[in-house]
Amino acid sequence: MISSYYFKGFPPEQWELEETLLSNINLFVGASGSGKTRFLNTLCNLSEFVSKGEPFRPGYWRITAITNEHEYRWEFQCGANAQGSNEIIREVLEQRRSGSQEDFEILIKRTSEAFSFHGNALPKLQADKPGVTLLKEEEVIKPFYEIFTRVHRRKFQEEGLIAAVSLSQVTQEQVSSIKSHGMSAMWKQDPPLSVKMFLLKEHFSDLYQISINAFKQVFTSIIDCDVKWSKEFPAGGQFPLLAIKEKGVDGWVPLPDLSSGMQKVLLIISDIISLPKGSIYIIDEYENSLGVNAIDFLPQFLLDHGDGIQFLVTTHHPYLINSMPMKSWKVFHRTGSRVMIKDGAEFEQRYGKSKQQAFIQLMNDPFYSGIA
């Protein structure tokens, strides 16, 4: 879990995201343009850079993270060198010494000129890869590195949803990899929803059942839900295809024909149910174009099934804001390129003095609206 996050971009993108303490469930709220999505973009870019070697944007990050056994501090700066190519300028990874409150041990120390691990100088290594990636196989680095491999951002906008409901075959390779590596393998493949439900049904039947039950609870018109084969539908072929039966509707309705609200809800339910512990799951404006019944299940669902997972959720929806404990709010406010982020706990006492709904008080707060 990432427990604190600071970012400062370099020209031409000189955004600064003030240091923010993060907990398990984090509800990002703030006016449009206040920096919520920017925050998520910087985190996702960094994760893809560390875990997949994707191109990076110049910037400076300061992150603390907690794994099962350790707490880490990571300072990381990358940007263009004198020759104009990107490289790591500075990197320090520290781990808290066991039993100590204050004392951290330096694991990686790196500048453009020198690179050491546990205090021992290393030969020159790739200048455009972070030490955390280069040394990921080291036992002491691995847990920290793995945090970045478990950042999942689900896109609920059009293309993301189309890809999620598309038809796809189940390969033998998928099955054997899931059998031997479990959910992490499933997330590495991130198969379309019908395939995922098929794999859940075949190999994790308890999780499959929880997903189906939760889905039926949200949409009470659904009387049955199952993974069929596409040959039973006009689409043809031999692909697994999730389908539902609804009250008053003849026959099975396949996933691609469901409303986008139903698709989104099933997607988010199956995601949360199947996420491996230690994952970071990002939900960016999930509520867009959804009816209230497809929104109001989420807060309780996160609490019931989100154990061991960190959630970063952006929203403008009054129901989500009202129903999440204020201490899980992160309230964004932007002045120019500087983004201030206040913890919801700071608002709790003050808002507790009025009977107005928390959402109404937040909308009227000058920190939120920018208008005093």
């Binding site: 009054p318 009025s354 009977k355 709904q357 008080q361 009227n364």
Partner: protein, 219 residues
Amino acid sequence: MNIYLVVEGLVGEKQVYAHWVPLVNPSLRVVNFIDEIVNDHLIIYAGMGYPSYLEMIRNGIDDVKRNAHIDRLVIAVDSEDMSCEDKYQEIDAYVKLCGAPLNYRIIVQHFCLETWALGNQALVTRRPSDPALQEYRKEFDVLGRDPQLLPSYPKENLNRSQFAARYLKKLLNEKHRNITYSKSNPRALLHDKFYYSVKTRFEKTGHIDSFDNFLTAFI
């Protein structure tokens, strides 16, 4: 005197009240949080157009009852398609149902805040260049006629509130090319002169008579 004000609209309506109320009663100062209310303070909660406005009124009544130093609850609503009287009765009945505080006032903006703003005669250009504005003035000239009598405008599929907002925007664009108006950005209305022009219109002509409630609610 400390006043607790609930307005129905977006943050822009709150901004207009925050600017205009101290012009009615200069001793009042706007605060942002209920725990900042001490003496001669005004706190404003905007409903942001969400449908829970009646719940906001009920919560406002609770707040006023629980805080002895808040002297008055003021509620501001648009009458929209209702008559001013009917809207007043509707809100008054609800306030009484919720156990009204001893001291409360209801401001019915008949039929919306923009109707009052259309009372500003200084906004009206004699010969507008915008053909749409020329049409609007032919249809209903707010310079001479009471803006509260503005009809709907079927030609553009606008009810009277929408027509008032569009009319106001056109007048402002005609007068000041770089100033626009929207419900969330009412910058043009946040000037003392604007308020005094509206007040003069009411006092001299008796037009926009629902503005009278605004003038008396904060004194």
